[in-house]
C-alpha cells in the first residue's frame, strides 16, 4: 500500500499526471490543442527548453547552491556563432557545432573557475556572467555578415525524420538516455550526487570536488550551446537575445521535475517531464483568448500551485 502511495508521490509521476490533465484541459479550452501534430510541435519547443535544462539540472544536482543564470546568454551567443559559421550552408554544420560547444565550454569554465577558485556564490557569478555575455553579443554582432541556419539543421529541428518525428526530439530522447546513464551508471554521475548531497564527505572520499564542479558548469554551458544551435535551426536565422527566455524557465523545469535546488536529489527524467509541462502550460495560455494581464496572473498562480506539488522544504520540527 505504501509502495503504491510512494509511487504516486514520485515527481515524475506527478509531472506526467499533470501533463495529461493539462492536455485535456487545453483540448477543452481550445479544441485542436491536443492533436497529434500539435503535440509533436509542442515537443519540439519542449526539447529546446529541455536541452538547456539538462545543463541546469547537473549544476543544481551538484549542490552548494548551484545554479546557472548565464544559460540564456550562452544560448544567444551560440545561436549567433552558429548562424555565422554555417551561414546557410550545410557544410558549415560541423564547424558550427564545434565552435558552439567550445564557446559554451569556455564560458562554463569561467563560471566554474570563479565559483571554485574565488568561491563566488554561483548565483552571483553566473548573474555577472550573464551581463558580460549580453554585452559580448552586442560587440560580436557588429560587422558580422549574417546568421542563417543551414537547411539540414532547420529540417532536423522542424521536419519529421524517423517515424514522423523530427530529429530534435530524437536528439532529446538520446540526451535523456545519456543523462540517465550518466547519472545512474557512471562514476561521474555518482560523484555528482555525492558532492551535491554531502560535499565534505565526497571530498574525504577522494572526489575531486573542484574539478567536478568546474566540469558541471562546463557541461551546462555546452548544453546551452547545443540548445542555441537547435534554436537557430528552429527559427531559421539568428537574432539577438534569442536565449533570454531560457534562464528562469530552465530552472522551473528542473524544479517541476522534482530536483531539489539544494542539490543531490533528483534526476533528468523528471526534468524532461517538467519541461513538457511548462511548454504545454504556456501553449494553453497562448491559445486561450484572454487579456495578457489575465494570462500572466493565471501563469504565475499556476506555477505557484504546481510548485506546491514538489520541492517543499523540510519542516523545522522533525
Amino acid at each position: 500500500m505504501s509502495n503504491v502511495l510512494s509511487f504516486f508521490r514520485q515527481p515524475i509521476v506527478v509531472a506526467l499526471f499533470l501533463i495529461v490533465v493539462l492536455l485535456y484541459l487545453g483540448e477543452i479550452l481550445s479544441p485542436g490543442f491536443a492533436t497529434g501534430g500539435q503535440i509533436l510541435r509542442l515537443l519540439i519547443v519542449a526539447s529546446l527548453l529541455g536541452i538547456v535544462a539538462a545543463g541546469q539540472n547537473v549544476v543544481i544536482l551538484g549542490g552548494r547552491e548551484g545554479i546557472d543564470l548565464s544559460v540564456g546568454g550562452v544560448v544567444s551567443l551560440s545561436a549567433i556563432i552558429a548562424g555565422n559559421v554555417m551561414n546557410g550552408g550545410d557544410a558549415g554544420i560541423l564547424p558550427a557545432i564545434a565552435a558552439c560547444l567550445a564557446a559554451g565550454a569556455f564560458f562554463g569554465l569561467l563560471n566554474g573557475l570563479g565559483i571554485t577558485l574565488l568561491r563566488i556564490p554561483p548565483l552571483v557569478m553566473t548573474l555577472g556572467m550573464l551581463g558580460v555575455l549580453q554585452g559580448l553579443l552586442v560587440v560580436i554582432r557588429m560587422g558580422i555578415p549574417s546568421g542563417r541556419a543551414a537547411p539540414a539543421l532547420s529540417s532536423f529541428v522542424t521536419q519529421p525524420l524517423v517515424f514522423g518525428i523530427p530529429g530534435i526530439i530524437w536528439l532529446w530522447i538520446a540526451i535523456g538516455i545519456l543523462m540517465a546513464f550518466m547519472l545512474n551508471r557512471t562514476v561521474f554521475g555518482h560523484r555528482i550526487y555525492a558532492i551535491g548531497s554531502n560535499e565534505h564527505a565526497a571530498f574525504m572520499a577522494g572526489v575531486p570536488v573542484r574539478l567536478m564542479r568546474i566540469a558541471l558548469f562546463m557541461i551546462s554551458g555546452m548544453f546551452a550551446a547545443i540548445a542555441g544551435l537547435c534554436l537557430l535551426g528552429y527559427s531559421g536565422s539568428s537574432f539577438a537575445n534569442v536565449g533570454e527566455q531560457y534562464t528562469l524557465t530552465s530552472i522551473i523545469a528542473v524544479v517541476f521535475g522534482g530536483t531539489s535546488l539544494a542539490g543531490g536529489k533528483g534526476g533528468y527524467t523528471g526534468t524532461m517531464a517538467g519541461a513538457i509541462l511548462l511548454v504545454i502550460l504556456q501553449g494553453i495560455l497562448t491559445t486561450v483568448n484572454i487579456d495578457e494581464s489575465g494570462r500572466q496572473m493565471v501563469f504565475g498562480a499556476t506555477l505557484l500551485l504546481l510548485m506546491t506539488f514538489y520541492g517543499r522544504g523540510r519542516a523545522m520540527r522533525a
Binding site: 485542436g32 490543442f33 521536419q159 537574432f239 527566455q245 491559445t287
Partner: protein, 320 residues
C-alpha cells in the same frame, strides 16, 4: 558660413536587437555627412541595456557633459518628463525618436506607430477582400508602441465588419516566441486567413506557417530585414511589411542640427497624442515593390533592415 560645432548626445536604452545597432550606426553616418557641409556635428553615444533610472542617468550625463541636443530612443513614454524639463532648462534641445514621449519639453521625430499598425491592417483587409478570421501577434504588453500599433489595427478593422480578430497574443518582439505562439495558434485555429504580426516576430510566425504547409492559405504581415525579404521573394509569400526604418534617429539628427542652427519648422511639431510629434512618412513594402526593397539591401548582412531617412535636403525642406 562659419564652421559650426554642435555636440549631440544619442541615448539608446536597449541593445537587444540589430535594429537598434543599425539605428545608432545610421545616426553616426548622418553626423558624418554634416561634416562635408562644414558643420561639425559631434555625436556622443550611450547605448546599453539599462532600466528606466539608467536611461534617466543617460540624460543627466549628457546634461553634465554640456551637449547642445539630446536624441533619445526612450525606454518609457512618460518617465522622462521631469528630466527633459531639466534638460530644457539647461538650454538643451531634446528629441525623442522611435517611441513618442509625453514631455512638452521634447519633440518627437519618427513614425506614427498608430499609423504603422493601421497600415498593416489595411493591407491585410484589402488582401483578404475585407473578410476572414485574423489573429494578432503583438509585442510586449503594456509597451506604448505596442499598444499604439494595436489601437491602429483595431481602428482599421472597425471599417471591415467581416474581419474577425479571433485571438490576440503577446510574443514580446521575440522571434522564437512569435514562432511558438503561431504554432499554438495554428493548432487551435486551423482555419484562420490572416495574421497581423509585428516586426521582430513576423519571421518566426512565417516559419510556423510554412512548417504547417499553410503559406498559400494565409496572408500575414512581414518584416523589413534582408533575410526575411529574401525569403519572401524566394517563397513568394503573401505578405506586406510596414517599415519602421532604423533611419529614424538619423532623421531626428538632421532635424536637430537644423533646429540648432536656429531654423524654424514650417509646421511646428504639434501632431500626435502628446501634440509634440513630427511624423515621418511610413514606407510600405508589398509584393509589388518587394524587389526594389531587395535591391536596396543587396550586399548587406541578413540582419540589416530596409531603411529610409530624411536626407539633409529633405529635412531642410521642412524648415522655413
Amino acid at each position: 558660413v562659419n564652421a559650426e560645432t554642435f555636440k549631440i548626445g544619442l541615448s539608446n536604452g536597449w541593445v537587444g536587437s540589430e535594429w537598434r545597432t543599425q539605428m545608432i550606426d545610421e545616426a553616426k553616418a548622418a553626423a558624418a555627412k554634416w561634416k562635408e557641409k562644414g558643420v561639425d556635428v559631434e555625436v556622443s553615444v550611450q547605448s546599453a541595456n539599462v532600466d528606466v533610472p539608467g536611461q534617466i542617468a543617460h540624460i543627466r550625463n549628457f546634461i553634465a557633459e554640456g551637449v547642445n541636443a539630446i536624441i533619445v530612443n526612450p525606454n518609457s513614454p512618460t518617465a522622462f518628463d521631469p528630466i527633459f524639463a531639466q534638460a530644457k532648462e539647461a538650454g538643451i534641445l531634446v528629441i525623442a525618436t522611435d517611441a513618442e514621449v509625453s514631455s512638452p519639453d521634447a519633440i518627437y521625430v519618427g513614425i506614427d506607430q498608430t499609423a504603422w499598425g493601421a497600415a498593416g491592417a489595411k493591407w491585410l483587409a484589402e488582401t483578404l477582400d475585407g473578410k476572414g478570421k485574423v489573429v494578432a501577434i503583438n509585442g510586449v504588453a503594456g509597451h506604448p508602441a505596442n499598444e499604439m500599433r494595436a489601437a491602429g489595427y483595431k481602428q482599421v478593422f472597425k471599417d471591415f465588419p467581416d474581419m474577425q480578430i479571433v485571438n490576440e497574443v503577446n510574443a514580446n518582439w521575440d522571434q522564437a516566441q512569435g514562432q511558438q505562439a503561431m504554432q499554438n495558434i495554428l493548432a487551435t485555429y486551423p482555419d484562420i486567413n490572416g495574421v497581423l504580426v509585428q516586426d521582430g516576430m513576423a519571421a518566426g510566425a512565417w516559419k510556423s506557417i510554412m512548417d504547417a504547409g499553410k503559406k498559400d492559405q494565409i496572408a500575414a504581415t512581414g518584416e523589413i530585414r534582408k533575410d526575411f525579404i529574401d525569403l519572401w521573394i524566394k517563397e513568394e509569400l503573401n505578405s506586406g511589411a510596414t517599415v519602421n526604418p532604423p533611419g529614424v534617429m538619423a532623421s531626428a539628427l538632421n532635424v536637430a542640427v537644423l533646429m540648432l542652427q536656429g531654423k524654424e519648422l514650417k509646421e511646428p511639431a504639434k501632431a500626435g497624442q502628446y501634440s509634440n510629434a513630427l511624423y515621418l512618412p511610413i514606407p510600405f513594402i508589398d509584393s509589388q515593390n518587394v524587389q526594389e526593397a531587395a535591391k536596396q539591401l543587396e550586399g548587406k548582412p541578413g540582419h540589416y533592415s530596409y531603411t529610409s531617412s530624411l536626407s539633409i535636403e529633405e529635412a531642410e525642406a521642412l524648415f522655413k
